[in-house]
Symmetry: C2
Subunit: 323 residues, 2 copies
């Protein structure tokens, strides 16, 4: 007899998905009206939410369920890293068709659970409903010492601009995924970065502890789009050196630069450091490479310098409302 799945069973499964991770301060996570979460004494809570929608953020025929689970949590957790905070727990809103409540859901929750343990971020609650398409919204709750969060506003003209990891790598992975037939597999670094991104939690916390960064955000929609946001929040401009960008190795150098400037989904950290502190930034933190890619400038102009020529760096990344 086929056992009928109901919402309560589903929620229990979600709760079990992050078994093995730290308690995260969560009590009565799943199975009550709401979860109770106790921040570490004296800390402030950091809150963020992120969509992962079928067709917009993933394709059921291309992205394995466990990668969808992993990335849904990684996307939201990256915002916590971008504040210099520690991730603690998450809430999952999940809408999915009945035919995905079997093996697909198990694999999705496996990916989510693996991410949950890796990021130290436990399931605190959720809401599930049936729908023809699959939608996920995840809220992540983190914490930070008062006054230690690194905001987007705070950069000053003259600050050095740094970025972690490699830019454009996830977009290259997406390109490969789309070009290949059938379900995606993480067979190289680019595909791995596209499918299983790792929020830079350790780097974010390190920068917050050292009080090194004057401003920070994560690069999720592409450098050209996100740097403009950081500049707008700080009331400054920026000058990016195309040659300095940590980019993927491609035969077509111009293509690699374009990917680095506009490619989305990298979940790297973009941060500013006072010029006099720039020498204190190491080449790696926790195995993640840090690269100085430019500097902040007076005025609001955001420019890129390539082959000695300066041009405006227009937002060419992802904006869901751009026609």
């Amino acid at each position: 007899m086929k056992k009928r799945l109901n919402e309560d069973t589903l929620l229990r499964k979600i709760g079990e998905a992050s078994r093995g991770s730290h308690g995260g301060g969560v009590r009565f996570g799943i199975g009550d009206d709401a979860a109770i979460w106790k921040p570490t004494r004296g800390y402030e809570a950091v809150l963020t939410c992120d969509w992962s929608l079928e067709g917009s953020h993933f394709l059921l025929e291309k992205h394995p369920a466990d990668a969808i689970g992993w990335k849904s949590l990684a996307r939201a957790t990256s915002d916590i890293a971008a504040m210099g905070a520690t991730a603690r727990c998450y809430l999952l809103s999940l809408a999915l068709p009945t035919e995905l409540t079997g093996r697909w859901l198990t694999n999705f929750l496996n990916g989510l659970g693996r991410a949950s343990r890796k990021f130290g971020c436990v399931a605190a609650g959720g809401d599930t409903t049936r729908r023809k398409e699959t939608f996920i919204s995840i809220t992540v709750v983190g914490e930070v010492r008062p006054g230690r969060a690194i905001l987007r506003a705070g950069a000053k003209a003259g600050d050095a601009l740094f970025v972690s990891g490699t830019l454009g790598e996830a977009d290259l992975g997406l390109r490969e995924l789309v070009a290949r037939r059938g379900m995606g597999r993480a067979t190289n670094a680019a595909l791995r970065k596209h499918m299983y991104p790792e929020p830079r939690l350790e780097l974010g916390r390190w920068l917050a502890e050292k009080k090194l960064a004057t401003a920070m955000m994560d690069v999720s929609d592409g450098l050209s789009t996100d740097l403009r946001r950081l500049c707008a929040a700080s009331g400054v401009g920026a000058r990016v050196e195309a040659d300095a960008l940590p980019r993927v190795e491609l035969q077509d150098r111009a293509d690699a630069v374009k990917l680095a400037l506009h490619g989305g989904d990298d979940y790297e950290l973009l941060f500013c450091v006072r010029k006099t502190d720039a020498g204190r930034v190491p080449s790696t933190v926790g195995g993640v490479r840090l690269t100085r890619v430019g500097e902040m400038a007076a005025g609001g102009k955001v420019v890129v310098v390539e082959d000695g020529k300066e041009r405006a760096l227009n937002a060419g990344g992802w904006d869901p409302f751009r026609e």
Copy 2:
């Protein structure tokens, strides 16, 4: 010239929607990677999320945008009330088609903003994306004194069972809304309750302060479905007196009882009180009527007594995964 709307503008609008409500302890709410929220010293955070999906929870041709905004927040906030907690802030995940980013969005945010001020729950952040259909997921963050939250588990056999307000009223409102032509208007109490439900925050807090309730939850999916959840969590059964149910006035009494037993969307509070404390429960709290509707019983059976006959009260409310 038509101004192009982008995601940043949309998020700013969301932030403005709850202007005029208390600060809620939120800093850097909209416009950074994440919001920072400071719980009141010594309090614990209460976290919940809820879907509101076009076609499942609302119809664009029947529900005015401001009612959709109001109810999306009310649905999630009701879970905070059900813990005996105070609502503080919320995060909005919003997916909508470009053609709804004008007047519809303004009205939606007006409804959300009115609810936000009424519930004392400010916008802390959000994520927006474009989609053919309209989906909303709201996370509400509240707070409660340690040990004061009222859980679903805790009811004992012999406890008196109470419910707030009138049961089945919102379902009656939905029925009227569907029967009428065109866009819904809140022209009577039932339609008002369906379109603009009011989470029982004051009652929840009052019960938590008085330490009166042994168990509590909100009735969102219908009494027959939700009472079974409370019983399962507490490991007890329950006996409901059909005659005692606070129900809508209908010519067809059986229909009114059915609505009270199974009708969803009421967002009333269902709570248990030790028999010896039952006399301390007043007839109203903050203008909301409280009615004793039965008692908790040993064993797991949930029954309803009508015309002297006892029968099993099977879950007949809303479960999105029931075929």
